[in-house]
Symmetry: C2
């Protein structure tokens, strides 16, 4: 699922390159999540293989750390195109001809904003909406570690272009469906803590999701409720993808490298956010993962 | 209950006046909420009448729009003191000798920051923590309408003083107790919408609160879940204070003046946020208030 930084950056750069007289095709490997359909250029995105029929000379890849994430668009890497990749993830892949990775940037949108300055294009209001979306979503509304003084200064400049930030934030955060809250309620019923209070988890079974008519997107962000608990070092969220197959998300507040815990179950990720897929019965899986986290906690 | 802007502003100004050689007493009408005990000067606050025994020549009142909110500290208004009041609320009371109200400021903390510039005091790191807390909490992490480009520029300056914003935000937002989430779960079970989808509400009974061992502070912010629903214009939250006595909170996204609805039930507030207290049986009260909101919606 493409996120706000990815889609906002792609739309912002695309619309700005058009101002410079370039012919631009916007593309996403997958349909845009409902949440981001308000972006000014949202209806212009070609989806997946729908973008492959064009005749391009340059392929610009934004906020994408591995080729697999390109989905059907990966085919474009094999054509004889100039490849430009811009990203802010430390583990980002070197796509070839022209790769720019700035891990100090809070969002790819920050790099795009600076690039527009270098190109001498002053962002139009609709571009400012895209860049604000990119930066605000990737910094958790300026709460995360990646937020810098320059992040705030860039956003001040975007606001001075006249964007309605309060309205944008309603579009980004106050568009929940009743189903989102029903799924939250069902997940909260399973909330549990280790006796030491440092590991907490919630889960949602296939049966519950089906009975509510809920999709994967309705479970987005539920792990943040677990993480918000005082004293919890590691938060876990278990979702039954298909009967007997569970995806676990792991979040650490810093003491434990959850990527190493996820690796025990053939998963991966980063120090503070990781995931894995496990087969079997829910209760047993939860016990196993919680035990592994507790053992990592006591080892650290 | 004093909020982050009030306590952050008081602590920031107090600590800075000490740098200028003033003798300062920090005071709050009520004990500091658990949430704000991390503030650098939190343990220095004298509470309520505990602050009345001092011999003062100036009484500085911050982020306080009406004298009633001073609680026991109101007595200081009757002494022969210089009264300085600084606030950003439009409806703020004129406390007398020296009142400064800037409704364009997102938080009283913004005014204090500018005042420190005028006084030639460069904020120390602990003052920056207080000012960040004041500004970030009153703008809903820079999401609300009151956020301006200058808000972001001020925060950039505060961050450049070396404060750990990610850690501060964990202290502000990731300190929930298990009880908070149990109360949320119980409230979500009551979530309901009008057939038109424009009014939504949740409630929590005295019996439920007592059975969970929950206090008023555990219901703080629950109305935001109701407001976050797509299509909802007015969000309501009903809390049974004592058996048969309910407090309703009303939040509007702009179409309805909820202060006028609250006034029908002898309550008050602002256009977008209001409240009232009603006596009677829960279901009947909910029906009455919802009907009044629906009628205001169709009239508007």
């Amino acid at each position: 699922m493409p996120d706000g930084d990815c889609l906002g950056s792609v739309a912002a750069l695309g619309l700005s390159l058009e101002v410079l007289g370039k012919t631009v095709t916007l593309a996403s490997p997958e349909p845009l999540p409902e949440l981001y359909r308000f972006l000014p250029a949202a209806d212009r995105f070609l989806i997946g293989s729908g973008a492959l029929s064009g005749d391009y000379d340059t392929f610009v890849v934004l906020d994408c750390s591995v080729p697999d994430r390109l989905g059907p668009l990966r085919e474009l890497l094999e054509r004889n195109l100039m490849i430009v990749s811009i990203d802010h993830h430390a583990s980002s892949y070197d796509f070839g001809s022209c790769t720019y990775i700035d891990t100090g940037a809070a969002a790819t949108g920050e790099i795009i904003m600076d690039l527009l300055d270098l190109l001498g294009v002053s962002p139009r209001q609709e571009v400012a909406v895209c860049l604000y979306t990119a930066i605000a979503t990737d910094t958790g509304s300026f709460r995360y570690q990646n937020t810098t003084p320059m992040t705030h200064r860039r956003v001040a400049r975007l606001m001075e272009l006249g964007i309605d930030v309060a309205r944008l934030n309603v579009l980004l955060y106050d568009q929940k469906s009743l189903l989102h809250l029903r799924v939250l309620q069902a997940a909260l019923q399973t909330l549990d803590l280790s006796p030491c209070g440092r590991v907490a988890w919630m889960s949602i079974s296939r049966e519950t999701l089906d009975s509510l008519g809920a999709l994967e997107e309705h479970t987005d962000g539920l792990i943040d409720y677990v993480r918000s608990l005082k004293g919890v070092e590691v938060a876990l969220f278990f979702r039954e993808m298909v009967p007997g197959r569970w995806k676990v998300g792991l979040r650490s507040k810093g003491e434990v490298d959850v990527q190493r815990v996820a690796a025990l179950f053939h998963g991966g990720g980063h120090v503070r956010a990781a995931g894995a897929v496990l087969e079997g019965e829910g209760d047993r899986i939860i016990k196993e993962v919680v035990a592994a986290v507790l053992s990592a906690l006591s080892a650290g």
